[in-house]
C-alpha cells in the first residue's frame, strides 16, 4: 500500500511539472495570450504613450481581445483606442492592472467584462484556463469534474508562480491592489456601495438591485471601485457590455437590467443598441464570446461610433427597453 501511495504522489507531481511545461510552451491559447499578445500590446503602447491625444483603453478578457480593431477605428473616426483585452483566466486583478497601467490623466478607461468575471477575484483558483477545452471555472460558471481535475493538477504547484509571472510580466504592483481590499489602518476601504444602496432604497419601494442575484452585487461593487481608481488618476470611466452570442434576443433584457443598475449608481454605460447580445451566430468564431473577422468588422464599427460620439445609455432609454420586453411577455428569462 505504501508503494501505491508513493507512486501516486510521484505521478501527480510529474503530472504537474509536465502540465506546466505544456501550458508554457505548447498550449496555443495560453502561449498566444500570455506572451504574444502581451508583447504586441506593450510594443504598441510604447509607440503611443508619448502622444498627447486621448486614448480610449478598453479592458476585458479574450472577448475584447478578439472583438475590436483599433486601426479601423483610427482610420474611420480618428480616435485612438487601445485594445487591452487579454485572457480571463489570468484573473481580474492582472487584467485590470495591465489595462490600468496604461491610463494617463485625461484618458478614457472602458471596463468590458462579463458580470460573472468579477467573481473571479484574484484569478480563478489555480489560475490558468484552457480556451481549447472551453473551461471557464468560477463560482458562477460550473465546469465538469474532468476539467477541474485537469486544472488543479496542471497548476497545483504553479498557480502562484503563474500568477506571479503574469503580475510581474504585466508590471502588476501593490498600488493597483488598493482599490480592491487593502486594509487601511486595519479596516477595509469603504466602497461607498452600501451608502449608495441605502440612499436608493430610501427613494424607491424596491431598490434597483432587488431583481438581481448575488454576483451582480459583487459586479457593481467592483465596478464602483474601478471608477474610484479612475477618478483618482484623473481618467474618464465607463462600462461596455462585451459581445455574447445568444439565440434569444430576450437576453438583451438581462443586460439592460445590468446596465440600468450601473447607470442608477452613476456609472456610464457606452451605448450599443445590442447591449452586447448578438443573435447572429456568423459573427462568432470558436466560442459564444470570440468574434469572427466579420463580427470584428461590425463590432468595431458600432463601438467606434459610440466612442467617437461619446454616446451613453440614459436611465430612461434603458427603462424603455426593459418595459418593452416586459410588456411583450418575454420577461421570463430571468
Amino acid at each position: 500500500m505504501k508503494k501505491l501511495v508513493i507512486s501516486a504522489v510521484i505521478g501527480i507531481f510529474i503530472a504537474c511539472v509536465v502540465q506546466i511545461w505544456i501550458d508554457r510552451h505548447i498550449e496555443a491559447d495560453l502561449c498566444f495570450f500570455g506572451q504574444d499578445v502581451a508583447d504586441v500590446k506593450d510594443t504598441w503602447y510604447k509607440t503611443v504613450a508619448g502622444r498627447s491625444e486621448k486614448i480610449h483603453i478598453i479592458a476585458g478578457g479574450s472577448e475584447i481581445a478578439t472583438s475590436l480593431d483599433p486601426d479601423s477605428i483610427k482610420d474611420a473616426y480618428g480616435i485612438t483606442v487601445m485594445n487591452a483585452g487579454y485572457h480571463a483566466g489570468f484573473g481580474l486583478p492582472p487584467i485590470l492592472a495591465v489595462a490600468s497601467s496604461y491610463i494617463r490623466p485625461g484618458d478614457h478607461f472602458v471596463c468590458s467584462l462579463y458580470p460573472s468575471s468579477h467573481a473571479l477575484q484574484m484569478g480563478m483558483k489555480f489560475a490558468f484556463m484552457r480556451l481549447g477545452s472551453g473551461v471557464l471555472s468560477s463560482p458562477v460558471m460550473p465546469v465538469s469534474e474532468a476539467d477541474i481535475l485537469k486544472i488543479i493538477t496542471g497548476n497545483l504547484l504553479l498557480s502562484c508562480w503563474h500568477l506571479d509571472y503574469a503580475w510581474s510580466r504585466y508590471k502588476y504592483s501593490i498600488p493597483h491592489l488598493h482599490y480592491y481590499e487593502i486594509p487601511e489602518n486595519g479596516k477595509l476601504h469603504d466602497s461607498g456601495f452600501l451608502e449608495i444602496k441605502l440612499r436608493t432604497m430610501e427613494q424607491k419601494e424596491s431598490p434597483p438591485t432587488a431583481y438581481l442575484k448575488g454576483p451582480m452585487e459583487t459586479y457593481l461593487q467592483k465596478t464602483l471601485h474601478i471608477r474610484q481608481y479612475c477618478d483618482k488618476v484623473g481618467a474618464d470611466f465607463s462600462v461596455l457590455l462585451p459581445p455574447l452570442h445568444n439565440d434569444s434576443p430576450a437576453y438583451r433584457l438581462r443586460h439592460a437590467k445590468i446596465a440600468l443598475m450601473l447607470v442608477e449608481h452613476g456609472i456610464r454605460v457606452l451605448k450599443d443598441e445590442r447591449l452586447g447580445i448578438c443573435t447572429d451566430v456568423t459573427m462568432f468564431a470558436d466560442t459564444v464570446a470570440h468574434l469572427s473577422s466579420q463580427g470584428v468588422q461590425k463590432n468595431t464599427e458600432i463601438w467606434g461610433k459610440a466612442l467617437k460620439e461619446g454616446s451613453f445609455w440614459t436611465k430612461e432609454e434603458l427603462q424603455h427597453v426593459i418595459e418593452e420586453y416586459e410588456l411583450s411577455g418575454r420577461a421570463d428569462i430571468l
Binding site: M1, I10, G11, A15, S144, A146, K150
Partner: protein, 463 residues
C-alpha cells in the same frame, strides 16, 4: 455508474459514510446481514441515481426470476425445463420491449407504433438479464438449493458489475456473496485500487482520446480514412470496455470480492478463435454454455451453422439493427473459416506475426459494421474500400496540438498493447505490468494530464 466520473465516487463515499453511521443504530443486527443490506442499498442507490425506471425494471426482472425459481425448487410440480421454457421468455420480455420492439415493429414489420419508438433502454438490462437467466438455468437444471432472497438480490445487483458486466455465474459470485465481508483488507485494497486506476487510464486516457480522434475527420470517400477510423474504433471499444471491466474488478476487490476478468488482451491474439476467447469472455462463455452447447455445438455436421447462429444472436444482443446482424454473422463466418483451416480442419497454421496481422485487420474491418448503424453509409464505405483509387493518405488535423495529440495517443496505444504481450509472456497476466508501482506512477500522471476535457460515457452502457 461511470467510474471515470467524480460523481460516482462522491455518491459511493457519501453512501459508505452514511452506512458507517448507521452501524451505531443497528448494532444488534447480525454484522454479515447488516453489511449485505448496506451493499444492497448501495447497489440500488447506484441504479436509482441513473433512473428510477432502471431500478424498477431490474427489481421486476430479478424478483420474478427468484419467485418462479423458488416455486419450482420448492414445489417441483412441473419439470425444470418446462418452467424454464416460460421463465426465460418472461425474463427476456423487458429486454425485448426496451431494446428490440422499435426495430421489430417499426423497422422490420414497417408499422408505425409510437408506443415503442425512442424508448430509453434501462442501463445494464442486457447484462443482468443474462446473469439472472444463467442463475435460473443453473439452479433449476442442477436442482441446487435456492439462496436467500438477500443473497440472491445482492448477487444480481452487486454494483461494480451490474451495469456493464462481467456477467457472473452463480458458482463464482454467489459463494462470495454468501460469505460477504467488505471490511478493509490491505492486500485486497491495494490490488483493487491499482486495477481501478488502470481501468480509468484505459478509459479516460486511451479510449476517450481515441474517440476524439475519430470525430476529427470522417471522410467516407477516402479508403485510408475509413481504415484509420476502423482501427481507431477497434482500439477505442477495447480500451473503453476493458477499462470498465478492470475498474469493476478493482472496485469489487476493494470489498474482497473477486470478479471474473472480462478481457485477456484480445489484440495480442493470433487468430479469430483466440481473439474471441479473450474478448468479452463472460458473454462469449455465456453463449457457449447456454446457446451453443444446447444446440449440440460442434458435435453435429451443422457445427458451422451453429457457430454462425451463436454469433448472430450475439450480434443482436449488442444492438437492434441490421448492422449488428451483419456484424455478428461476419464474425461467425470468420470463426468458421478459421476452424476449417486450423488444426481442427485442414491443419494450416499461419506464422504468429502474420496471424496477428490478419486477425487485427479482419476485426478492424468487421468493427465498421458495429459503429456505423446507417446501412447506406455502410454500403458507401464498402464501395470506397473496394475502390483502390479512393485511397488517399491523409488525416485532417489542425494545429500543432492536434498532431502532438495524435502521436501521443498512437504511441500510448501501441505501447499498451506491447506491454500486454510482454506481461502475458512474463507473468501469464496481460494487466499485471500496469499494476507495478512504477507503472502506477506513470499512469497516474497520464490520467491527470492526458484525459480530454469532456469524457464520453462507456460505450457498453448503451447495451
Amino acid at each position: 455508474m461511470d467510474f471515470s466520473q467524480l460523481i460516482f465516487w462522491r455518491i459511493l463515499i457519501v453512501v459508505l459514510c452514511a452506512m458507517k453511521a448507521c452501524d451505531f443504530f443497528l448494532k444488534s443486527v447480525n454484522p454479515t446481514l447488516r453489511r449485505k443490506l448496506y451493499f444492497l442499498i448501495l447497489s440500488w442507490v447506484m441504479l436509482g441515481v441513473i433512473s428510477m425506471e432502471t431500478l424498477g425494471v431490474f427489481l421486476l426482472v430479478s424478483i420474478v426470476a427468484y419467485g418462479l425459481s423458488y416455486w419450482q425448487v420448492r414445489k417441483s410440480l412441473i419439470g425444470a425445463r418446462v418452467t424454464l421454457s416460460f421463465l426465460i421468455p418472461v425474463l427476456l420480455l423487458p429486454l425485448f420491449y426496451y431494446k428490440y420492439a422499435d426495430f421489430a415493429v417499426n423497422g422490420i414489420l414497417n408499422m408505425d407504433v409510437s408506443l415503442v419508438r425512442d424508448l430509453v433502454i434501462p442501463v445494464g438490462i442486457s447484462f443482468y438479464s443474462f446473469q439472472i437467466i444463467a442463475f435460473c438455468i443453473d439452479t433449476l437444471i442442477r436442482k441446487e438449493e435456492m439462496p436467500s432472497l438477500m443473497d440472491y438480490l445482492l448477487f444480481c445487483s452487486f454494483f461494480p458489475q451490474i451495469v456493464a458486466g462481467p456477467i457472473e455465474r452463480k458458482n463464482d459470485l454467489l459463494p462470495q456473496i454468501q460469505q460477504f465481508d467488505p471490511r478493509i483488507r490491505a492486500e485486497n485494497l491495494n490490488t483493487g485500487l491499482r486495477y481501478i486506476l488502470v481501468g480509468i487510464f484505459f478509459k479516460s486516457v486511451l479510449a476517450d482520446n481515441l474517440a476524439g480522434l475519430m470525430r476529427i475527420g470522417y471522410d467516407g470517400n477516402n479508403g485510408f480514412v475509413i481504415w484509420m477510423n476502423n482501427l481507431l474504433f477497434s482500439m477505442r471499444i477495447y480500451f473503453d470496455f476493458c477499462g470498465y471491466g478492470l475498474s469493476a474488478y478493482g472496485l469489487a476487490r476493494c470489498f474482497n470480492v473477486t470478479l471474473k476478468m472480462n478481457f485477456w488482451s484480445p489484440y495480442t491474439a493470433c487468430n479469430m478463435t483466440e481473439f474471441w476467447r479473450r474478448w468479452h469472455i463472460t458473454l462469449t462463455s455465456w453463449f457457449r454454455d447456454y446457446v451453443y452447447f444446447p444446440i449440440k455445438g460442434s458435435r453435429t455436421r451443422r457445427w458451422w451453422l451453429n457457430i454462425i447462429f451463436v454469433f448472430l444472436v450475439s450480434g443482436i444482443w449488442h444492438g437492434a439493427g441490421w448492422n449488428f446482424v451483419i456484424w455478428g454473422t461476419l464474425i461467425g463466418i470468420t470463426m468458421v473459416i478459421h476452424r476449417l483451416f486450423s488444426t481442427k480442419g485442414l491443419g494450416w497454421r499461419l506464422p504468429a506475426l502474420l496471424g496477428w496481422l490478419v486477425t487485427i485487420t479482419t476485426m478492424a474491418f468487421i468493427w465498421m459494421f458495429f459503429y456505423i448503424t446507417d446501412l447506406d453509409l455502410l454500403l458507401n464505405n464498402l464501395a470506397t474500400l473496394a475502390n483502390f483509387r479512393q485511397y488517399e493518405c491523409s488525416f485532417p488535423l489542425q494545429g500543432l496540438e492536434r498532431h502532438l495529440l495524435v502521436w501521443v495517443v498512437a504511441i500510448l496505444t501501441i505501447l499498451t498493447i506491447c506491454l500486454e504481450a510482454i506481461s502475458m509472456k512474463w507473468k501469464n497476466d496481460p494487466y499485471w505490468i500496469f499494476t507495478h508501482p512504477i507503472a502506477i506512477g506513470i499512469i497516474m500522471a497520464l490520467v491527470f494530464i492526458a484525459q480530454p476535457g469532456k469524457t464520453p460515457s462507456f460505450i457498453y452502457f448503451a447495451f
